[in-house]
Assembly symmetry: C2
Homo-oligomer: 500 residues x 2
């Protein structure tokens, strides 16, 4: 069996494989602060590409970016009990505003600088943004308010995993205010669509759009929608959420406006977000036992050129050829952007260098040696090709965008095939238990249900959760049926899975 670049492999130890891919692809590393990661340049460039595309879509859909404080006064979290239950428990609490020498050569929080009211490092910003919106909204003329924030947030997690669950993470949070419930609901669904299109179109990660059951709803939300993806270990990943908050937050935060009839009424709000967790989803959707595979639309580099030479004479022939190849490639366009091309001239053995780029998942790898120069060709491979092939240089330059497009499609198709193969329609509790029994591969189970304690207890026992009730029927579209857990009538199937 061929040796793999990542050890252990997915089948040997999936969680450890994941950590090794993150490391081998130079995406991130644990920092000196418990639960916080350092996002390294290759990982951050992926995030920047995610940001840029989403930001463009947010602006196209009428949203403006703004920035709100990192800190939330503790009293803001006290105001809304349900919200406190959900978010405020594990968080970073700022209690002092000064350090002073502790008399033993070290430092201590200065007792004289204790804050009258502790500040919480934002776990999410509904409360502070809501308080601001309450000042901004007076009249129906001020509506809608369509705001997005790119920010860092902190949730004190006990068990962390790079990108998937970290104490500090980067995200965007959209917050909007509307005059009517209908408009707010429309916004909630519109942004869910933006997320789904991004996940499938740019990340090549197929997702299910659906509504969360009551137990999985965002605290305080009237309805929570999510996009759910399936990772290669058949566990689900919630990749983005969009919340219709009804008037719950508006009432807690006094977001009121005067309507055209001159009457005061509470507004309707939404919030929606995706985070650096998407990078985790991207890894677990596409990486293989040789490391990361970047979907071309998000790849920090579309292609890397690896010059190969043994002496100065060869170097003098190969390097200029590589430079001009890079320049030619960089004039080509893929997906509306110029090709991002790098040359790796580092003083490393060719094999080591090549494998570094395989592990980082660069879509196209081009090796150029003296013989390629002589024959005006290149030795090129896409990340999904077993081996590279010699190809005429001009042809490669012309074909590169097409190769990227094919790779993007291959990744989506492969991920969708894996998901579809792991998706089943289940109609009895016995089958449900068998599907999620220990030692079984599991996957996505489409089953009729009643949202209530019987379902929740059974799911808990099986370590499964209802991921969502799909908005568009995907599997088992047979109308109403019988709830697996209560025997009662069920109108819709939910998708059940183990989840990250």
């Amino acid at each position: 069996m061929a040796k793999t670049a990542i050890s252990p492999t997915r089948s040997e130890n999936y969680p450890e494989w994941y950590q090794q891919v993150v490391k081998a692809a130079d995406l991130a590393e644990n920092s000196d602060v418990r639960g916080c990661m350092v996002i390294k340049p290759w990982g951050y460039a992926l995030w920047e590409n995610i940001q840029r595309r989403l930001d463009t879509r947010f602006k196209e859909t009428g949203h403006d970016n703004a920035y709100f404080p990192l800190f939330i006064p503790m009293s803001f979290l006290e105001k809304e009990a349900e919200h406190v239950e959900g978010f405020a428990k594990e968080c970073a609490v700022v209690t002092h505003h000064r350090l002073e020498p502790n008399g033993k050569g070290g430092l201590q929080p200065a007792p004289s600088a204790k804050l009258e009211e502790p500040l919480i490092v934002r776990p999410t910003s509904e409360t502070i943004i809501g308080a601001t919106f309450a000042r901004w909204v007076q009249s129906y003329r001020d509506l809608p308010i369509l705001i997005n924030q790119w920010a860092n947030v902190v949730r004190w997690e006990l068990r962390t995993r790079m990108f998937l669950r970290t104490a500090e993470f980067l995200w965007q949070e959209g917050h909007t205010v509307h005059a009517t419930a209908e408009e707010a609901q429309e916004e909630t669904r519109k942004m869910l669509d933006v997320y789904a299109e991004f996940a499938e179109g740019a990340m090549a990660m197929p997702v299910i759009k659906g509504e969360k059951t009551a137990g999985e709803r965002f605290p305080g939300a009237a309805a929570t929608y999510s996009i759910e993806a399936m990772m290669q270990d058949r566990k689900a990943l919630q990749a983005g959420t969009s919340h219709f908050l009804g008037q719950n937050f508006a009432k807690a935060q006094e977001i009121k406006f005067q309507n055209q009839a001159g009457e005061f009424q509470y507004a309707w709000t939404t919030s929606w977000g995706v985070s650096t967790r998407l990078v985790g989803g991207l890894i677990m959707s596409h990486a293989d036992d040789d490391g990361l595979i970047c979907p071309p639309k998000l790849a920090p580099a579309h292609a890397v050129i690896l010059p190969i030479f043994k002496n100065d004479e060869e170097r003098a022939a190969v390097l200029p050829y590589c430079e001009s190849l890079k320049n030619e490639l960089s004039t080509q366009e893929y997906d509306g952007e110029k090709l991002r091309v790098r040359i790796d001239t580092r003083d490393l053995r060719g094999g080591e260098k090549k494998w570094q780029w395989v592990k980082r998942g660069v879509p196209l790898r081009v090796e150029v040696g003296p013989r390629d120069v002589a024959s005006a060709s290149v030795f090129a491979a896409s990340r999904l090709m077993e081996k590279g092939v010699g190809v005429e240089r001009a042809k490669f330059v012309a074909d590169a965008p097409k190769m990227l497009g094919e790779l993007q499609q291959q990744l989506f198709d492969r991920a969708k095939r894996a998901r579809d193969e792991a998706s089943v329609v289940i109609d009895t509790l016995a089958d449900f238990e068998a599907f999620f029994a220990e030692g079984q591969p599991g996957g996505l189970a489409y089953a009729h249900f009643t949202d209530g304690p019987e379902m929740e207890a059974k799911c808990k026992a099986l370590k499964v959760t209802p991921r969502c009730v799909p908005l568009e029927p995907l599997l088992g579209d047979d109308g109403a049926g019988e709830c697996l857990f209560t025997g009662g009538r069920s109108e819709r199937r939910a998708v059940f899975a183990r989840a990250y």
Copy 2:
């Protein structure tokens, strides 16, 4: 006298004028958290444009973005005494990681969740990034490391002022590691140049590049360089800094590498940063008694179109004309970017609407009424024109980029003229004292000096600081001279001023 849109005017009360411009231009507002501001969409869009341009330059000069933790363990600040003195005193200290009910219907930091080691919200990231770099650097082959981070930082300030001095602010911090002192020095100066080119080229804000005196140096730095601008009240604003850190941080953080001879040695590091303070500098460079004036290169919108109509019939003629005008304008380019054009169709009185855009400082304002439609013309004004003029529509579309370029240049010229008029060469202590005497307008004084306690005491008494020793002679380039404060020999003049 004409009524101004901003009250008070600059001459009546400059600090209050500043706050009113920030408010009237919809740039930012105070938040519910002491010392932290909410950056509103118009202000944030300015910052995004600043970011985008700088980020492009950072990447062109070989830097990669990355992200490091928000928190710094207290012990990291203890390690380097000098650094602690300078930065760690007033900061946000996280001491607990959980809230719990306080038994009185509220919340409290949970005593059981007290952190063993307090965490500091980063005031700057030298220590945590340095600890990371120590892991990344092993060999000369790993150098240089050229990293930038876009982030929020917190410094607990007692007296805050939006954009100029806030507890939380947004910035970028470059951090680099080099094998030699020369390379690190070159990097320090290169990034200072990037800042200066940006300030003058994009912000239209003339700056002086110079080196800080010892007392004004970044704690722990071997040399600190800055760009200094003069505001309309003749006070200086430090708009960006670039630090040559020597081996000081490398020694504290054990950033060592094996050189080509196989010997271990300490590396040389730099750091450099600009922040949302630049927005404050932009305001105080260009705004007038009618509000903000956006330099076209950074303006969130280059032009706003204001449709004017009295009834549905006029509306039906005017709006499509405005839409097609917007589309035409948006195909024009200024400074390598498509024109950013908005139509303001809000249901507001024409005068109110127009003045909102004046106060926000949009470079070009275009009013379109039924008569303009009939005559295929527009009524257009740049933000620096007293009144608008009727102009043929096609001509306006063709000329818009040129008008923006002229406005950009006018702003720079005007700011430079104001600075030059307030710059003097001073050769006696008596003149120095008279220049900075209470009731005098002050400005920038170029004077010979010796870096030491006599100068510092005198400056302190006059509430003046040495801003920098200019790298390129600007005024008073008369070689060596006599220090105003000690009578000793002085090789160079420094620029002295009151400062923000």
